[in-house]
Symmetry: C2
Subunit: 142 residues, 2 copies
DNA sequence: ACTCCTTTGTCAGGTTCCTTACAAAGCCGA
DNA sequence: TCGGCTTTGTAAGGAACCTGACAAAGGAGT
């Protein structure tokens, strides 16, 4: 068998790194009252203001049903706002509130910091190569 | 800001790849009646026969509370078996049943295949480097 | 012996994510 | 025009994961 030891499989390592990264971020976001899932949606929302929930779901790699759960929390916390009526088709634009925007700025600093720590032992060109290799893997599975 | 575009962040890419990998595996494991989480526990169980649940939790990167949920399913499906009484301390050894072993062999083929597809566009030495870089990232966050 | 610490198991409750299913809206070729 | 096709929203139910909390068991040091 090509990979007798799971610890050398890319799939295994990706899971380990993702889990560690997720947890490290979650820990440091907790004081802000923000979860990683919520951060991801806020981040996507900043990148695509007024996008419908389905678009945010695609950007955060979850189903639109899952996104609804998170969006409900964000609305309840006053960080995001969903239009009452559809503008085009059935799509209701979602927007960041001022508090959402402010909290995202704080959270972004934290997440970027953890990201930097994750790659801190890598030379810049190695980190770039890692990103390129991961992109290739994502393409292969698409 | 160092990473204005989220699509170039390692943390973002790792999440994307993990999500894609997880989904691709889940789809192909479904006909076996097995989830990715269940596969992970079976795999860990094969690597550490008779390990207590807490050890399996560490090996699969989840809490022992989460592992319990999955283990309950595996027991109900007759794929794993938990000793009635602790052998040392409070630890109850968990073991694979014959059906669990057989199903794992099937599942392993599937997961390894998806893993291979994920890195199919990479030269062997690039895939090795990817594994090394991911290991380094995991170490940095530990 | 006794206290402190670590490990393990367990329960409760909540969040995130999934599949399945259906309804509503627009688009597009026949 | 009219029936498919796609996209979007929504609902229900279940799986997997989490934190917090507690009890039980053993080990280490005093």
């Amino acid at each position: 068998m090509s990979q007798e030891d799971v610890r050398q499989r890319v799939g295994y390592l990706v899971k380990q790194v993702q889990q560690s990264f997720h947890r490290a971020c979650e820990e440091r976001l907790r004081p802000l009252g923000l979860s990683m899932s919520q951060y991801a949606v806020l981040r996507a929302l900043a990148d695509a203001p007024g996008a419908p929930a389905a678009e945010l779901a695609r950007r955060t790699f979850v189903t639109r049903q899952s996104l609804r759960d998170v969006l409900n929390g964000l609305q309840a916390a006053g960080l995001a706002s969903v239009a009452d009526h559809p503008t085009a088709g059935r799509a209701k634009p979602v927007t960041l509130t001022d508090r959402g925007r402010a909290l995202l700025d704080e959270a972004d600093g934290i997440v970027l910091d953890v990201d930097a720590r994750m790659t801190s032992s890598l030379a810049p060109e190695k980190a770039q190569e890692l990103a390129a290799l991961l992109s290739a893997c994502a393409d292969n599975l698409a």
